[in-house]
Symmetry: C2
Subunit: 582 residues, 2 copies
């Protein structure tokens, strides 16, 4: 692999010289702002070999560097070995930003190249301002991958399907009308929608162009009078064409979007400058789930919980019998999920991370990294499924046998954080940033912290990571409201030792109104027992124990009718009510 | 008063017509970004009559409105009665922003006037952008107060004093060198300092131009080679002139600043565009207190605590004896503080708020509002002192007699929030926004919240409200570091009933380093017993009771040697260790 990378960087440098450039920036984004980028746009992976979901590669004539965040420090270090890329650890005080680094590396009047299509306008403006301070220019109409990436995968052309109303809960016509209503309130003429899950949600369509995400590559231009879908028409069979026609959506070729002058939006009318040209509005509407979507989530969580319980019941004896690895148990879990109704595949690549691998926050087992599971220590298992009626995202950390005191302490602190957040009543409309600390308080007291966010939205048969809200230590202004889904997933990671994370997908629900306003709380949607064998019970408050007992009672009630007798008895033991410590 | 206001608004509208304006905006700011604005610049109070510390008045040819935040809703409603101003409640979803409201009121090509000197450049740009969307223009070189405010107070000309090195802890030369070092790191040529407490800190000077704040009206231009102080030279006696000469600070007339072309800063050199032209840098240096400043705070807190204990010992019997009012007890407290060494006056106007007045967050008793204190219910007392070695800010809520169940509950929840924040260990460098929820958790569980922030920095014989850090529900990115002061002041306010707030000024201290980084915690600087008579002890955890007991032990230890025998015995009872509930 590293040989390929050296060769590609060499060819890129020839391209830079030929085009009068001093550097090129390859981000992890595509023109549709998705987290999972179709291979066609994975130019950063192509040039650097680093395959994490977040990272930016920069190549100059004499140097090369890759920025990524704490989730990927360890993985990136491994993958960049033998390549010209040095790792730049984003989020550490001593790490320069990309533009700071370029200002150090380059000199006045140098030109940096980017493919303008895969950046937002704001990003381009910020780069221009930062580089401009050192007299460096930015050229945005370049795409070296087009020329140099000889076996570049094409833009996918998979078929689009209709998401039935029984699952979507609201017709596309009604959604379009709600968007128009918001546009009228904002005195905007229209909106360009480039985010693929926003398009899928709006039109009640699903696809399979992007790994793990049931979306299709397209754009939508929605004005007060018209809706135009820019998409390769090969993807639409007659039933979908008829459906689009019926709901008044015009279809134009995907490529035509690039040449669109958007004259109705870029005209003289001042009011439309307020138009949210890229996203925001549709994402906010999508984030509040309707009754049918919530009912779908509940059904999907029962099926996913049944698969998880069958898996967990099987796991420990299988590990003790020997021969199981990270990859083999992932296959087993996938097979159990695939038996469930409305199964449509992964919602993200499973993280099955044994022992020290658990400390690599976004570890993905490969044939090279795969290890045998021993009957000791922790298995961290973060996985999710696309069901047609709901997307799941669950993490369990499972004791495969004896644990160290540190493993028990870390597990207990993560569980306390998870429960504290679940117990928190909070004012309607506050940002997730404002409640993030509640998941961290217990571990902070022990001098422990984690670098990732605590929660993200989950789509309704859409993306496992859905915005705009998050529960996060960095500022995410999007307000929390009833009807949103959000995960609750604190963790502790000790490099070279273990990782612990406990995650349920939650629904934000109303919790009364007082003279101080409306209040909300989180209700678990995920149904799966939480391993209690690692818990240090003397550290748990009565309130925390009561929460666990109530959750396990609900898990048993919902899942036990769908299990074999042996599985049911196993679940009963997992869900037995624990006494509070005096 | 309302007659005066109607007359002034009438004259302003004549001015608007004469100058071709459709509206004028009067903010609460002055050219020096201070919280307390010298009367000379209090144009918003002059035009509207509203005297709160935050608020913006807008007058159009046919309408007038005043925006203020939840702290002042009640006070503003009262003060605006009979005037043309309607109250706009900032922070409520249905309240339009000032520019939104102007866009509704005015039409294309209308012109809005402001005095550009009292806004920051960013504020001007944001207003221009927002108004521009509706085709409305902004004119920034207008000052109607100059023409219409006939008895406008002059800019104060009080004498400037040297803050001795034993209190300042670092020479002005050393501070200037640290600022220059930061400028060199940022490749900036210089910095304009307009914030008065930044200037006072930098030069180790103090003044008395601004109510409650020992600062003096001036500007500083600090370049890599020179420091120029723009100030009315009448304010400087020979000793101060000699001092400034000795430390290499040039003095120029205050008025000259306005005509300064700042050519060395506005030249062609690109690097200096990174220069923080207004504040930020100096404020960050100032916020970390040195050892002498911390020692000064500790001494000042002992003296302030002694005054508070003498006052509290006197209070309840005096109220029972009859004849005490909000104003009379404030006079008593002030007299006790004035007896203390190094006393230099209030650090802000005392809030002595009895019963329902406690719910008016920034209540200030006036002869008209003053009420008699009865031996029942709560007195909320928020006060602070300027001592030459440290500024204090303390709130106690005191039971004057029997309480309602709701008063006891609210008091207990506020105390729990105060203690939770004080017990929190947190990572170095996070924002105060990230820990704000810990002070609210207990009351949120009861459906209660408060609209103000939880904490602010406190100056070293400077402003009682000092930035840049805060502990706040809205986003304040400034990181928390060891050596900063910050208040801890959650509250609960029930309109028409009572208010509860408990506030200590805290010092941020280091609390160890682990593999996850440095951790911090808050240590109380304020020394004064917290009234325990209202506490519902069955709601308090053992950890919370232990915190209270340790705090009271420290208060007794520090203050008891400085009290009369009778006061000492009273304090001993206040500080008796409470048992934990089983």
């Amino acid at each position: 692999m590293s040989n390929n990378i050296n060769e590609r960087v060499g060819k890129l440098r020839d391209y830079l010289r030929k085009n009068g450039l001093a550097a090129f920036i390859f981000p992890s984004t595509d023109p549709h702002q998705g987290e999972y980028v179709p291979e066609h746009w994975q130019t950063r992976k192509w040039i650097s070999g680093f395959d994490g979901s977040a990272g930016t590669a920069v190549v100059t004539l004499s140097d090369a560097a890759l920025w990524t965040d704490s989730r990927y420090y360890i993985a990136a270090e491994q993958q960049l070995q033998g390549t010209p890329f040095k790792l730049m650890k984003d989020g550490q005080a001593e790490t320069p930003s990309i533009t700071e680094w370029l200002c150090q590396q380059l000199t006045e009047n140098n030109v940096v190249g980017v493919d303008g299509e895969v950046f937002t306008e704001t990003e381009i403006e910020e780069m221009q301002a930062a580089l401009g301070m050192a007299g460096i220019m930015l050229k945005t109409d370049l795409n070296p991958a087009e020329e140099l990436w000889t076996d570049r995968p094409p833009i996918p052309k998979n078929k689009v399907e209709i998401q039935p109303l029984e699952f979507a809960g609201e017709s596309a016509e009604s959604k379009i009308e709600r968007v128009r209503q918001a546009l009228r309130e904002q005195k905007a003429n229209g909106i360009l929608i480039s985010q693929l899950d926003d398009i899928a949600w709006l039109l009640n369509l699903r696809g399979s162009d992007v790994h793990c995400n049931p979306v299709f590559v397209s754009y939508v231009l929605l004005t007060l009078d018209e809706v135009t879908l820019f998409i390769d028409s090969e993807k639409l069979d007659d039933s979908v064409k008829n459906y689009l026609n019926k709901i008044g959506v015009r279809v134009k070729p995907y490529g035509e979007f690039q040449t669109l002058s958007i004259s109705p939006l870029k005209g003289e009318d001042k009011a439309q400058k307020a138009s949210p040209l890229r996203g925001g509005l549709v994402g906010s509407l999508k984030s509040i789930k309707n009754a049918a979507e919530i009912a779908g989530f509940r059904r999907a969580m029962i099926r996913d919980g049944v698969a998880m319980v069958k898996f967990l019941h099987w796991l420990n004896p299988a590990v003790e019998a020997g021969g199981q690895t990270e990859l083999s148990i992932d296959r087993k879990l996938t097979a159990l999920r695939a038996e469930q109704d409305l199964y449509r595949g992964f919602s993200f690549d499973t993280i099955a991370a044994y022992g020290p691998h658990g400390a690599i926050v976004h570890y993905e087992a490969t044939p090279e990294s795969d290890v045998k599971l021993e009957p000791k220590g922790f298995l961290l298992l973060d996985s999710g499924t696309q069901y047609q009626d709901g997307t799941t995202d669950i993490t369990r950390t499972i004791a495969l046998g004896p644990l160290t005191d540190e493993e028990r302490l870390d597990y207990t602190l993560v569980l306390k954080g998870h429960i504290r957040l679940a117990l928190t009543r909070f004012p309607d409309g506050i940002s997730g940033t404002q409640i993030d600390a509640l998941a961290r308080y217990a571990m902070w007291q022990h001098g422990i912290n984690y670098g990732h966010g605590t929660g993200h939205g989950v789509g309704s048969y859409l993306c496992a990571h859905e915005g705009p809200h998050q529960i996060r230590h960095t500022w995410k202004p999007a307000p929390l409201h009833a009807g949103m889904t959000v995960t609750n997933e604190p963790g502790i990671y000790r490099q070279g030792k273990h990782g612990v994370r406990i995650e349920n997908t939650m629904l934000i629900v109303e919790d009364g109104e007082t003279e101080f306003g409306k209040f909300l709380r989180l209700e678990p949607l995920t149904l799966c027992p939480i391993d209690l064998t690692p818990v240090l019970w003397n550290m748990m408050t009565a309130e925390e124990v009561a929460y666990i007992n109530a959750y396990h009672e609900k898990v048993y009630e919902e899942l036990s009718p769908l299990l074999t007798e042996e599985e049911r008895l196993w679940l009963k033991v997992q869900c037995v009510a624990m006494p509070s410590q005096p």
